[in-house]
């Protein structure tokens, strides 16, 4: 079994961790791209919700129309 720990000491490991703390995709904290992405996400969620309302309504109206016709129900 080999040693999977890639550093010679804990100090080296800590230094490596410190070197990455300032980095992650479009972060950390508030910056322009974070705002834009959040707003795009909100817009996507709202749009998706409106879409499913319309999509289902169309589906149900078609189904109801077919059933009403088949059963002789005037809608």
């Amino acid at each position: 079994m080999g040693d999977s720990f890639p550093y010679d000491s804990w100090a080296e490991a800590q230094a490596a961790a410190d070197g990455t703390t300032g980095y992650f995709t479009w972060g950390p904290g508030s910056n322009t791209m974070s705002y834009i992405l959040a707003i795009l996400g909100i817009a996507l969620a709202v749009t998706w919700t409106l879409w499913i309302v319309r999509f289902e309504d169309k589906h149900l109206r078609e189904a109801a129309s077919g059933l009403n016709e088949k059963w002789g129900i005037s809608s």
């Binding site: 992650f24 996400g41 998706w48 309302v53 289902e56 189904a63 077919g66 059933l67 059963w71 129900i73």
Partner: protein
């Protein structure tokens, strides 16, 4: 050398504590998924064969809508509405009460804040946020079962986004947070969310049900109740048992870890608590609830299991302080109360709650809040140590009940006026699966005629009753409905096979 070793040891202990906390909440989240596996299984089992897929998809899409609403809005609401209806946005992020741990005001909680993502300096926010998301899904799923078999999927999704993403979060900010006004000023105590999750979701569902109306054929012309048969009772019971398993993680996630102060755990108000105590409560609570449910319903399988749930919900508010001896007795009788309230809602109020959610979650949730005012009176709750009392718990119910009912009733009323709340009557009779998904999903089980328990208790063929009820509902003459005509639409389904017996 000695000092540096001590520092190193302390850092190691701190890091271990942080990682333990992170792991603990992560696994409560993972196990809480079982709640939603259970809700989906339960509700799909309760529904008639023609509505199984529509019911299940509704539960799955709960995750798709509640999660983003909570991420973008709910998390901020939780931290910034502790003082009441209006957000409290202090410039420095300090709680006006001076109790600390107040995160509103510095951008914390918004989706663009540095805590909301891969931040090597923050191990906790993501798992803590996720635990709240699972609570949010739970509130949505509680309502979900009550309104099956006639609500539009899209209407349900809007309602569950509102309730799961915002309404219950406001309740939590008021009475289930470190700085909530109900707790700081009135000693409101609700350890495992009897009121802020179960009560809110159940009463929100009641508001929706009043606008939604009963399923076609649920009541005869004299208003007497019939009973629809679950298409799979074993699936229904198994779903409930899975929910009960997830409940343990729900309880566990209601604890905070306080590694630097004995006993090492606290409730959400940061009053001392233990994992051991709540394990007693939930386990004994289920036992008492099952026993009471069976006893009061005289062996009804549905109410035996629902009694277990009602029993636990009723003791959840005081799960951190109750003696197991008290829990067993309370759970036993609260299960009976749920049975009688459920029947009252169905028979007297003529509200068609398909799973008894209003009684089990709504009524028993708030009953549980009030019980703690009696049996937990005097307990110093929260940062200011205000003693819990019946009056304080009553104030909590008086604030939370209308919050749930008015938002549920108002939102569903708007959808009803827009004709977006309920599926068309003909589609409801035909079944939602064919209209929504173009298929009957159980061809391999054979096609037996749907039956219904009529008002006299006999199991009879459902179709003539449902067609008559449809004719009544749309004001058409029953003569227009030829009973020899197969009830199905063209969607690749063998129409004769789906309506045997006609």
């Amino acid at each position: 050398m000695g000092v540096s070793m001590l520092v190193f040891a302390q850092e190691t202990v701190d890091l271990t504590s942080t990682v333990f906390t992170e792991s603990y909440y992560f696994f409560t989240v993972a196990i809480m998924w079982l709640l939603h596996v259970g809700f989906m299984t339960y509700e799909a089992g309760v529904s008639r064969r023609k509505n199984v897929m529509a019911t299940a998809i509704k539960n799955i899409l709960t995750i798709a809508v509640v999660t983003p609403v909570f991420y973008y809005v709910g998390w901020k609401v939780y931290f910034c509405m502790e003082e009441g209806i209006l957000p409290t946005l202090t410039a420095d992020g300090n709680n006006p009460e001076g109790t600390g741990l107040y995160f509103c005001g510095d951008g914390y909680g918004w989706g663009w804040h540095g805590s909301m993502g891969p931040n090597l300096g923050d191990n906790i926010t993501g798992v803590f946020w996720a635990a709240f998301v699972l609570f949010s899904w739970t509130t949505g799923s509680i309502m979900s079962g009550a309104i099956i078999e006639r609500v539009r999927t899209s209407a349900y999704l809007i309602l569950t986004a509102l309730m799961g993403g915002i309404v219950w979060v406001i309740a939590a900010a008021w009475g289930w947070s470190y700085g909530g006004w109900l707790t700081l000023h009135f000693g409101y105590h609700d350890f495992a969310a009897s009121g802020v999750v179960h009560g809110i979701a159940g009463i929100f569902a009641l508001g929706v049900l009043l606008n939604l109306g009963p399923r076609i054929g649920k009541y005869d012309r004299q208003g007497r109740a019939r009973a629809f048969k679950p298409h799979n009772l074993h699936m229904t019971l198994m779903g409930l048992m899975i929910i009960f398993t997830g409940f343990y993680a729900f309880y566990a996630a209601c604890l905070a870890i306080t590694a630097d102060a004995a006993p090492g755990w606290a409730n959400i108000y940061f009053s001392p608590a233990t994992l051991s105590a709540i394990t007693f409560t939930i386990t004994i609570g289920f036992a008492g609830g099952f026993a009471g449910g069976y006893f009061f319903s005289k062996g009804d399988p549905f109410w035996t299991l629902s009694g277990g749930l009602a029993g636990v919900i009723a003791v959840s508010a005081g799960a951190d302080v109750y003696s197991p001896n008290l829990v067993f007795i309370l759970a036993f009788f609260c299960a009976g109360l749920a049975f009688y309230v459920g029947n009252f809602i169905e028979v007297k109020m003529r509200v068609d709650d398909a799973v008894g959610a209003v009684a089990v979650h709504g009524v028993l949730g708030f009953v549980g809040v009030l019980l703690l005012g009696v049996f937990g009176a005097g307990y110093p709750t929260g940062a200011l140590g205000v003693e819990t009392s019946l009056l304080g718990q009553l104030v909590g119910v008086a604030a939370l009940f209308p919050l749930a009912f008015l938002t549920g009733y108002g939102a569903s009323w708007i959808l009803k006026k827009l004709n977006l709340l309920r599926v068309p009557p003909a589609v409801e009779l035909e079944g939602l699966d064919i209209a929504e998904y173009g298929s009957d999903f159980f061809p391999e089980w054979g096609q037996v005629a749907e039956t219904i328990i009529d008002v006299d208790g006999r199991s009879v063929e459902a179709e003539p009753i449902l067609r008559q009820a449809l004719a009544d509902a749309i004001g058409a003459s029953p003569g227009l409905l030829d009973l020899r005509e197969p009830v199905s639409v063209d969607a690749g389904v063998d129409t004769d096979a789906t309506t045997s017996g006609t």
